[in-house]
């Protein structure tokens, strides 16, 4: 029985690996030739831990009409549901007047344009860099390169397996963002997992150490349009994945906090939308 359990766990781990590789179809391995597609941008970074890293792309103006249509349709459905819930509530309330009810129903709230809770337009714009394939690997030092739609990205968080299941971690209460222009490779510098880098835990929120000239680049990037990421403060982000929350540590010249308010350290003001 113990052997079968171990086999099942091994199968689960293998499935997880297959799944993570599969989602990484835009992620370069150590043999892929790097050819720049002018319609895409590319994110490059170094790391010591091979934990997945999740970015989120800000919505662009041309994505808004489709999002507005989806929101309007969802609102209409919610309002129709409200009518049914209201009928049910009235029925249950009437029955509770004639006999005791252990759990009295709560009155439903009608969804309106103002109170309707619908994910914002960027909620589907995640990019996940998985633990493999790596772009380069030299002992514990690895690097990653992934092709992404051009846009402005925020460092969102990480995901991984715990013994109790899949866990997510996000820098929801303040993070950094950067532009990823078309036809360019953006060098983020080093992604760190402060605890995992020294082998203490498995899922935690990633942090960025900005690129410096002391960081070398793989020879395979020679001759390609590589630019250092211009990091900026990014405001709070919803906990879309329902995971654990954190915030990116302050970065001089980029990001700091006043209590829980995110401050753009260049301007002294909250980040511009």
């Amino acid at each position: 029985m113990r052997a079968l359990t171990l086999l099942a766990i091994a199968l689960l781990v293998a499935l997880f690996q297959i799944a993570t590789v599969a989602e990484a179809r835009d992620q370069f391995n150590q043999k892929d030739a790097v050819t720049i597609d002018p319609q895409k941008s590319y994110i490059f970074y170094r790391a010591r831990s091979r934990l997945p890293v999740r970015f989120i792309r800000e919505a662009t103006p041309d994505e808004l009409p489709a999002w507005r249509a989806q929101r309007a349709a969802a609102l209409a459905r919610a309002q129709a549901t409200y009518e049914r819930d209201a009928d049910r509530y009235r029925t249950l309330t009437r029955s509770c007047e004639t006999r005791s009810c252990r759990d009295r129903p709560e009155p439903p709230v009608r969804a309106t344009e103002e109170n309707f809770d619908f994910p914002p337009p960027e909620a589907d714009n995640f990019v996940l860099v998985t633990s493999g394939p790596q772009f380069t690997r030299d002992g514990e030092e690895v690097s990653y390169l992934i092709a992404v739609p051009p846009g402005t990205y925020a460092l969102y968080g990480s995901s991984g397996m715990l013994t109790t299941g899949v866990a997510h971690m996000c820098q929801c209460m303040g993070t950094v963002r950067f532009a990823a222009p078309a036809g360019q490779i953006v060098d983020l510098g080093m992604i760190r997992f402060p605890l995992s880098d020294v082998g203490r835990t498995f899922v935690e929120a990633p942090t960025v150490t900005p690129w410096t000239a002391a960081m070398t680049r793989p020879a395979r990037l020679n001759g390609l349009p590589v630019i250092p990421a211009e990091l900026r403060a990014a405001d709070k982000i919803p906990n879309y994945l329902g995971g654990m929350i954190n915030r990116h540590p302050a970065l001089p010249g980029v990001l700091r906090y006043e209590r829980d308010r995110v401050i753009d350290d260049r301007t002294g003001q909250p980040p511009a939308p």
């Binding site: 499935l15 297959i18 709560e106 997510h168």
Partner: protein, 193 residues
Amino acid sequence: MRKTWAPLAAAILLMLPNAAGAQGTVASAEAPIDPATIPMPALAFTPTPEIEGNYDKYFVFNRAGTDFATAHADLLECDGYARGLSHRGPVGTNAHLGIVGGMLADSGSDMLYGSAERRRQQRHNMRTCMRFKEYRVFGLPKQIWETFNFEEGNRRVPEGERQRMLRIQARVASGPAPAVGEVLMPAGGEAAP
């Protein structure tokens, strides 16, 4: 640069976007609340090693010089980050029991381990968020704590009940600091899950 069938498995395992709503965005459109209408719970107790051993589970927040409206808004925001967590217990580890047996056993595992992990993550998120807002954390005995606090493992707390308790928590957070039970931030802060 491969494209394979596995996004389905990835979606199951990683619980990709759409699994949860826009948490952290729950807003309150209520009229201003008069804190005098909110009962202040009795918080006095004598710490024992057993009570102190559970401070990581049973705690309240307090911040000097904070008014009720601010504390209430802070708690609502943090509750937005801590509600409806997506964590699910391990899937597939009971495959040796067959398809139906495995699913039932997985469900049981989630009831046990997933539920405990969701409660742990909820506590982590509340503490992390409120620490960032510079609140102090004070431990309580479970018997006092459970009269105005809630946790979500396998059940959703009814919204009316949740809001009632959050208002009492705001009363505590904006009132006099508890006399005993302060939980100091561990080295490294709340970053470690």
